[in-house]
Every structure is written in C-alpha cells, then in structure tokens.
Symmetry: C2
Subunit: 289 residues, 2 copies
Amino acid sequence: MEVVCVGWLNPPAQIWNRNLIERITSQQNPRIKKAIQLHSSRGRQSQRRIIVFGIREVERAIDAGVAFDEVYFADSVLDELVRNFETKTAGKATRLTRLDDKVFEKVTYGDRSDSIVGVAARPATELENMDPVFTGSPDSALVLVLQKIEKPGNLGAIVRTADACGVSAVICADPLTDVFHPNSIRASTGTVFNIPLATGSSNQVQDWLRKNQFQVYTAFLENARDFYQCDLTGKTAIVLGNEAYGLDEQWNRSGFTAVKLPMKGRADSLNVSVTASVMMYEAVRQRNR
Amino acid sequence: MEVVCVGWLNPPAQIWNRNLIERITSQQNPRIKKAIQLHSSRGRQSQRRIIVFGIREVERAIDAGVAFDEVYFADSVLDELVRNFETKTAGKATRLTRLDDKVFEKVTYGDRSDSIVGVAARPATELENMDPVFTGSPDSALVLVLQKIEKPGNLGAIVRTADACGVSAVICADPLTDVFHPNSIRASTGTVFNIPLATGSSNQVQDWLRKNQFQVYTAFLENARDFYQCDLTGKTAIVLGNEAYGLDEQWNRSGFTAVKLPMKGRADSLNVSVTASVMMYEAVRQRNR
C-alpha cells in the first residue's frame, strides 16, 4: 500500500503534464487543415499567416515579437519545454496544443526532425513602414538589398550573416521567393525575425534609398570598382542580384557605384551568399577600425 | 528530284554526326553498370574512379588534367558539343559514347538536368605528395584547412571561393565526406579540379603545417582573437572545423592562434562556408594592399 501512495505523491511527469494542454488526434481538425495549407506560398499569402518549424526558430520569433496563434508540440517533446513556452507566451493569445504523432507528421514539413511548429501572423514587410533612421545609427546605417532573390535557402543564409554583422535592414527588391518561406526561416536559424526586413519593387527601393540619402554600391562583374577601394563607413547600401543572372540593368545607373570583389582562379563568379557575406563583413571591418 | 539532292548535300547535322561516335542502348552494358556504381562513395573508393556530371564540370576537369576513361553524352546533346570534346580529348584514352535516353537516365544522378557524364581516374590527394612550395609563392602561400567537413555541398562551395581567392591549396583533415562526392564537384562548379586538394589525418596535417612553417589560425568561438587583428600576409593557414561542432580540441594548442570573426545579433555562430569565405577574402584584401 505504501508503494501506491508514493506513486501518487510523485506521479510520472509525462502523465501529469500531458493533461495540462489540449491535444489534437484528428487530421480532419480544421486548425490542422489550415496549418497544412501554410506549407505553400499561396496558403501563406491568402491567410496572411506564416508557419515556423523548430524550437530555436519559434523561440526567436516569439522573442522578436511575432504574434503566434498556435504552437503545436510533437508527442515526444518534454513537458519542461512545453512549460517554457507557456511562460514565453503568457498573457498572449497563443494556443499551445499537443499533436498525436500522425497529426504532427502532417503538419511538419518534408522529412524534418522538428518537434515544434508554430503558426503566426505574417510580420509586416512594407518598405514605407520601415524606420529609415534605424534607431541609434542614423548616419551609419548599413542596408543590404537583394534584387530578385530566388532561393529561400540563400536568402535565409544571407539574413543569418546580416544579423551577425549587425546590418540595419535587409530589403528584398522584386523578390522571387516568399521571404518567410520555411527554408528561408530555417537557413536564417530564425534571425529573419530579428532583423528589419522589407520588400518592394526595384523602383520603390531605389526611391527609398535616394530619399534617405544612402551611398549605394551595386554588385556588377563588368565596369566595376574594386570593392575594397570603397568607403563603407557612412550610410551605406550594398545591392546584390539574382543567383543566376545578377542585378538587373535598372540598377546600373549614375549615382550608384558598381563594385566587385577581386577574383582569381577559374570560376567567373561567386555564390550570392558568399559575395553578400564578404561585402557585409568588409563594412564591419571598416566600421570597427 | 532537286529537293532530294539539296537534302543530300546538306544532311541534317543530327543524322550525320550521330554515327561518328559509339552508342550504348542497353542498361546491362558492363561499362554502364560500373559507372552507376560510382554514384556511391564505396564504388568510387573501390574502383579508384570518380564520376563527374555536367558540361562545365567535365570541361574544367579535363582542362585541369584529370584523366577521363569515359565521357557519356545524352541523346539531346548537340553534335557540335561532342566535337568540342573530341578536340579536347584528342590523343587521350577517353572513349566518347552516346547513351540512349533510358540508359543516360540511369547513369545520371538524382533528378539532375545534366547532359554529360564523365568517368575518370581518381586524382591523387595524398598530403605527402603535395608541393609545399606552391610554385611562385613560397613565402606567401595561403592554405585553407577544413577539419571533419561533413557536407559535400559546403566543401564544394568553399573550394569555389578558395579558387576565386587564389588560395594555394585546400587540405581536408579527417574528412567525413568524399572530397570528390558529386555534390562537392557540383557546388565547386568544377573548380575542385583546379586547386591543389589534399587529405590526411589531423596529426599529419599539423605535422605538415609545422614542417612547412605556416602561421596557423584556428577558428574557435571561445578565447579567440579578433581575426581582423591578425597579419595574414605571410605563409598562412586558416583552419575551420565541422559544420555542427566546430574544430576538435586537438587544434587548440600552443603555436596556433585561435581566431574568430566579430559577431553581433542573435545568432551564435556563422555557417562554415561563410566563415571560410570571409576569412579567405580578408587575406586577399591584406595581400592586395
């Protein structure tokens, strides 16, 4: 009898806490159906929602103020982690729900090993709403512009480096991918929520850069100045083009400085993520001197 | 009748040239079977052969002196291209062969859109055979060391940037991937054949670096010096670790300088390919001054 008593005084954590939050066991649940629709760009646009996979990614998004409607947990997730998220989302309209294995498998993306999936309101990315003063560094803002970026993994990798470099904002001109594509969020390790991110047409972006008096450096392979000869300590924008085709000619104009990195060897170009990283870090180097 | 005559005087290029080279139509052909075995690392090791996909990649390998046994062409390939390769391989023991669509599909890799596949002798990568003098730049050699690199795509991307930076050699210590993995060759855009490439254990590589009097900079996140404070103009080795775990502790030793890039933002580390690229380009910058 004593043994049974001890059992009740110290119930296994699993049994105890599993009952704390709601649980969905049906794939036909309308919330589950709506979450699955967010796997596609069309679903994300029409619901004005995004879907975030992974503990680190959801955490960084919450910390950055992204408003989550739902956080779904796999059955394998420890209760301690659920409690952490309860604390993080306390006072917010976020529903925490456990999903049965089969249901979770449907909500997660591809063959990923994530154990948390969140659904959130799509953060605003309108260029006109972005603060051009970048609180604290009005005269030394460093902005990265990516025109017609196509691969979400590249965008995410670039944003991750931009975050490490303390870049003021990343602006996507005429983007060919959803900036909140799951692969972009993943490759950014969630930093896509930490950095001011805006989208607009090339015309809008050029107007914005001129209006806010940025020194604009455009990456071109022809008739371009050695990037290392440029002063990047003022209010600076670095502009890079599409992975395969580079920048559109509309970015080759007076008032902007065409630049390139020195290149030896057989390859005739660099990966856009490499070029972006090297250029941003050169700005960091000049500013730290 | 005149029309027929004109037809004979100017035969369609396709009909004319298709007969110039051999053609394989059976998937059971032993050469085809051996080529397919090269898709796996084990097959490449046991045959001491590599398989190269893509026009640019095969071309760069031939130009770099890689000895091809076979070059296979898809049926869709223009005869002009076949003739180019006949010129390129003239006097060499390279068999050029067209493959029927179904056979080519088997030989090619995954769902790639390549139209040329080559089979070649595996280039030697023994560290002891590598010329440490690096003809022309004995006192300013720049070597990149990658320890336990795991993802062939990362390795290839790094080699591509190393080639653009004019790096003297890339050395893989304790590699966890085949340096000639198809994804490595692909991500390098074939530059993996242009740059001296060696493999060895960490002990061998450290001995080699000491014997050849390199200044060694190891990438660590803790107790590390700002990379931009380092003089990279002499005989320099930059050493980076595994994608997930970084460098092994055996690289944290006296005589070597631990270094890191400055980092702001939320992310606690950078992608290894980004770190490698930024560090190599900083060496280029210092050397071009």
